[in-house]
Each structure stands twice: as structure tokens, then as C-alpha cells.
């Protein structure tokens, strides 16, 4: 059984091919990393899988259901996405924002129950935002706003979590915290997550699988152990990578960029 899958999916944005004939099957219990250089289309792919933007071709399924035939509400009950940017324009309390995760599960006339409030409070606590419940969201720092958006996703509690650079803006402790929560959800609650990451070592540490986008629609997908190696990463990022074997598995160091930056640095003033 798969939680999220796509067959022969062609995705592009502004004439640039993101993925050609992408076949994916994300099963419950799997945490996928989505790796690729800047501008390769990681966000575009995530948006496409969330049904926010259309694919050129191919089919996406959430569980057994074709995404194309579902209402937004049905999608939101099964799939949630942490967006890359979170901007709060109107001042609400952090608790209110966290509670919006309940929106797709509530009927038109329902109010959030006391259980919902307790659940939202525990989600805030999980991302170290306890004590922020009544705090206005426009005064949050970038990292706090990010964790709040993640807390709202926890409250939404979907089967499939799409995370667009979940560790953006976060300090070391909270980077680990977010990844540990995602990892625990996937392992214990049999959720499925696909997280766009720039830190290969976070992917190596937490992900069971990775999907790599190389540009021009080329992609590779599979278990981390098979996918993450020096050659693949050097091809992916266009820089030299050193592999360091540790007790927890291989870790990767970028050594030097081989791109035109060298030419720029040595330019004549």
C-alpha cells in the first residue's frame, strides 16, 4: 500500500523541466528527502504533489484516490504541506494559528473542541512554543514563525506530510527537533513524509529514502544507502564532495565549488 504515488509525471515551471516521467511510491513509515540544487524545482514538485499546481502529464494518487478527483477539503484531510515561506499579515495568537490545522476536519458550524485546544497546545509544546499561545504572531522571529507553521501541520495531522525546507531559519537544536518529530511521526504513526532539504547530512541521518532532482527533468529515487554517494552528490550539486565514514553511517563534506565562482573571485578589479 502506498500513501502517495505518482506515475509518469511530467512537471515543469516556466518552460523548465523539473521531472520527466517521474514514478514514485511513498509508503507509510518512509521519510523521503528531496534533494537538488537551487532552482531545480523542488518546491514546484511539492506543490504539484499537493495539487496546488497542475502537472503537464501523469497521475498522482493519495492512497488509492486520484488527486484530480478530490476536493481541496478531502486532500487537506489526508495531505498537509509546510510551505517554504510563512508570513503572517494579520495578528492572531499562536494558538489560533495552530488551531487552523483543525479546519479541514471541522464541519462548517463546528467550533474547535477543548480536545482540539489541548492538542494544539501540545503541538506548540512539541516545537518549544509553549508559553507563546497568546503571543501575537506578527512579532515572532523567523525561526519561531517556522516552528509555528510546523505546529499547525502537526495539528492538521495528515497521512502525508510535504515539507518544503523544514529546517529553514532554524537553529541547530530546532533543526534536529523538527526532523526528529517528523521521523517519529513516520515511524510510530505510520505517516509518510517528503522533505525538501539542503543539508545532505540531515537527509543521511533521518531519511529512509531520497529523491534527487538533477535538472532538465533527470531524477533518481531510492533508499538512502543506495542513493547517497560521492558521485551522485557531486553530480547533483556540481561541487566536490568528501565522504567521511562515521559510526552512524557516511557523512558528506563539500570540498570546493568548481563553478564559475572561482573565475569571479580572481577577476581583475
Amino acid at each position: 500500500m502506498t500513501a502517495l504515488s505518482c506515475q509518469a509525471l511530467d512537471v515543469s515551471i516556466a518552460g523548465i523541466r523539473v521531472a520527466n516521467a517521474l514514478d514514485l511510491e511513498l509508503a507509510p513509515g518512509e521519510l523521503w528527502g528531496l534533494l537538488g540544487p537551487n532552482g531545480v524545482g523542488k518546491t514546484t514538485l511539492l506543490k504539484c504533489l499537493a495539487g496546488l499546481t497542475p502537472a503537464d502529464r501523469g497521475a498522482i494518487r493519495i492512497g488509492e484516490n486520484p488527486l484530480a478527483g478530490m476536493t481541496r477539503r478531502e486532500v487537506a484531510q489526508r495531505l498537509g504541506m509546510l510551505q517554504q515561506h510563512t508570513v503572517y499579515l494579520f495578528d492572531s495568537s499562536a494558538l489560533q494559528i495552530a488551531l487552523t490545522g483543525r479546519h479541514p476536519h471541522l464541519k462548517r458550524w463546528d467550533r474547535e473542541s477543548a480536545d482540539d485546544v489541548r492538542y494544539a497546545e501540545s503541538a506548540l509544546q512539541a516545537v518549544d512554543l509553549d508559553g507563546f499561545a497568546e503571543r501575537g504572531v506578527t512579532s515572532l522571529s523567523g525561526g519561531e514563525a517556522r516552528r509555528l507553521a510546523f505546529a499547525a501541520l502537526l495539528v492538521q495531522d495528515p497521512q502525508v506530510l510535504l515539507l518544503d525546507e523544514p529546517t529553514n531559519h532554524l537553529d541547530l537544536r530546532h533543526q534536529l527537533q523538527i526532523m526528529e518529530i517528523a521521523s517519529a511521526l513516520v515511524a510510530d504513526a505510520r505517516r509518510t513524509a517528503l522533505a525538501a532539504l539542503h543539508d545532505v547530512n540531515l537527509a543521511a541521518r533521518f531519511c529512509s529514502h531520497v529523491l534527487m532532482l538533477f535538472g532538465d527533468g533527470a531524477w533518481q529515487a531510492g533508499p538512502c544507502a543506495e542513493m547517497l554517494g560521492r558521485d551522485a552528490l557531486e553530480r547533483l550539486y556540481g561541487c566536490r564532495v568528501e565522504v567521511v565514514e562515521t559510526a552512524a553511517g557516511p557523512r558528506f563534506h563539500p570540498v570546493s565549488a568548481e563553478r564559475p565562482s572561482a573565475a569571479w573571485l580572481s577577476r581583475k578589479p
Binding site: 496546488l52 479546519h103 467550533r111
Partner: protein, 327 residues
């Protein structure tokens, strides 16, 4: 979302305040009236003073309350629709179309009874014009709607200036009053009340959807809203409210901009509390403003739009400053 104790008290409080403001408005005016006279007048609608209270003051106060409620509610919706705290009920040109047609009517000497029809026709025409120009083929674009609306409004403003420049001198004063917003000829009527009641109920039902819509279109879609449909509905509802308000009293300024903001400062951004609070607050605010408009320089009457700005600007700046100090 559990409403806090303050917001739970605020709505009944504003209901009581609405009632008191209507009473106050019926008690003061250019015809001096002692307390006992006023009580007697309230009890005897057929007496001379009773006529003043029941036929003149209360209908006008009720009209003011409705206009305030209509504009405040419309402002709340426009701010969410455009995700812009500067949005007000007039930003997309509804009042411009209405004003142009009304002034045109005044210039060519249309019968006074027909002027409101011209007003309504202008408002509805502008709503449909902006809707069809901004809708286009693609998905919802808030920027396209905002630009279409703002440019349309500028077009109306130019036409209005043209009429003011070439119109007959003796009608300029009436035109100016209309443009500033004036309740001296206002008739409450059943249709605007029905619009306010119907839209209010609908918006209350949609309140939680508005909460997620205020977080951005993409967030709202990810939380299960069919945003294209919802956004156009909000546009039409907000425009309809504005049209009803302009139909009664011309373009009363400022209420639709500051009342939603003041209400947000007081009760927060949960539309389940904000919508009733802002609607009631808008009603009270305009009744009090209009009472001042007809009593400050009595027997001369001021356009209520002047009073709303004179009252509203310092109140708004004060609260804004306090809110900043607090955070």
C-alpha cells in the same frame, strides 16, 4: 478558538451600546427637548415632538447604524480579500461608479426620487465591470483584482472631477455633501437592511474560512478551501455591502477603513468574533458621528463623513500607538 473573556463581553456590550446610541440620537438635535419631553415624545409618536423623534431622528439614526455596519463589514471582507490592511470598501471603485452616476443625475436634473436608482446602477455597473475585467481566464490573482479595481476607481474619480468642474454652481454643494457622505436625506428602507442581515449571516457561516483565507491563498487551499470560488464570493459580498451603504448615504469615508482595524486591535483576528464586533462597532460609531454632525453646529448640518474622519483619525492613531507600546 476559545474567545477570550474580553471578546465574549464585547459583543453584548456593543449591542447595548448600539441601543444606547440610537436612544441618544433620538434625544438630541436642533429641536431642544427636555428629558421629560423626550420620554413623552417616545411614548406618543403622534405628538409634535413625537413626530420629530419617530419620523425624523430615529429613522435617520437607524439609517446611520446600518451604513456603519455595512461599511465596517465590507471593510473586514476587503482587507481579507486583498490581504492588505489599507483596503477599504471603496478601493475597488464601487463608490466611484455610484458617485459618478449620482452626480451625473444631479447635473442633468434627474428627479430627486430617481437619484438613489442612479446611485445603485452606478455601483452595480462598477462591480460587474471590475469583476469581468479582473476575472480573466487564469486562476485568482489578488494583484490583478487590486490593480483593476484601483485603476477603475481612478477613472471614476477623473469623471467625478470633470462633472464638478463643468457642473452648475448651484448643485456643487449637494454634490460635495454626497461625496463626503451625508445622512440628512437618508431613508433606511428595507432593502439595505436585508442586504446587511443576509450578508452578515453568510459571513458568520464563512468566518472560519475567512480566518484561513487571511493566512494567504495557498495556505487556505492547503487547509481545504476552494479559494477561487471563495474569493470571488467575498468580492461580490463586500461590493454588495458597499453598494447598499452608498445607496443610503453616499460615500461616507473612513468607517470602513478604521472600524475593522480598531476591532482587530480589540478582539483579535478571529472572524467569528471580529465580524459581529466590527459590524456592531461600525453601527455605533456612525450613529454617534451623525448625531454630532447634526448637533455640533446646529441648526447647520455637517456631512457625516467629516465627523467620522475628525473623530476617527485621532482615535485610530491613539490606539495604534498604544498597541505598539504594548508589544
Amino acid at each position: 478558538m476559545m474567545p477570550s473573556a474580553r471578546s465574549r463581553l464585547l459583543v453584548p456590550g456593543l449591542l447595548i451600546l448600539s441601543f444606547l446610541s440610537l436612544l441618544l440620537s433620538s434625544a438630541v438635535g436642533s429641536v431642544a427637548m427636555g428629558f421629560t419631553d423626550w420620554i413623552a415624545a417616545l411614548q406618543q409618536p403622534d405628538s409634535a415632538l413625537g413626530e420629530v423623534v419617530w419620523r425624523l431622528r430615529l429613522p435617520r439614526a437607524w439609517a446611520a447604524w446600518m451604513v456603519g455596519g455595512l461599511l465596517a463589514l465590507s471593510g473586514c471582507l476587503m482587507q481579507v480579500l486583498l490581504r492588505n490592511p489599507l483596503a477599504d470598501p471603496y478601493i475597488l471603485g464601487v463608490s466611484g461608479g455610484a458617485a459618478f452616476m449620482t452626480l451625473l443625475g444631479m447635473t442633468v436634473g434627474v428627479a430627486a426620487a430617481l437619484l438613489p436608482v442612479m446611485t445603485l446602477a452606478g455601483a452595480l455597473f462598477s462591480i460587474i465591470l471590475v469583476f469581468s475585467l479582473a476575472r480573466g481566464e487564469g486562476p485568482w490573482s489578488g494583484t490583478r483584482l487590486l490593480l483593476t479595481g484601483v485603476v477603475t476607481a481612478s477613472g471614476w474619480a477623473a469623471l467625478i472631477s470633470l462633472i464638478l468642474a463643468i457642473g452648475p454652481d448651484n448643485s456643487l454643494r449637494g454634490m460635495l455633501f454626497w461625496l463626503l457622505g451625508d445622512l440628512s436625506h437618508a431613508q433606511p428602507g428595507i432593502a439595505p437592511a436585508a442586504v446587511l442581515a443576509a450578508v452578515f449571516v453568510l459571513v458568520t457561516v464563512l468566518a472560519r474560512s475567512l480566518n484561513v483565507l487571511a493566512m494567504g491563498e495557498t495556505t487556505a487551499r492547503l487547509l481545504g478551501e476552494e479559494t477561487d470560488r471563495l474569493l470571488w464570493l467575498v468580492y461580490l459580498l463586500a461590493s454588495l455591502l458597499t453598494a447598499a451603504a452608498v445607496f443610503i448615504a453616499g460615500s461616507v469615508g473612513f468607517v470602513g477603513l478604521i472600524v475593522p482595524h480598531l476591532s482587530r486591535m480589540l478582539v483579535g483576528s478571529d472572524h467569528r468574533v471580529l465580524v459581529p464586533a466590527a459590524t456592531l462597532f461600525g453601527g455605533c460609531f456612525l450613529v454617534i458621528s451623525d448625531t454630532l454632525a447634526r448637533t455640533l453646529l446646529a441648526p447647520r448640518q455637517l456631512p457625516v463623513g467629516v465627523v467620522t474622519a475628525v473623530l476617527g483619525v485621532p482615535l485610530f492613531l491613539l490606539l495604534l500607538n498604544r498597541a505598539r507600546l504594548k508589544s
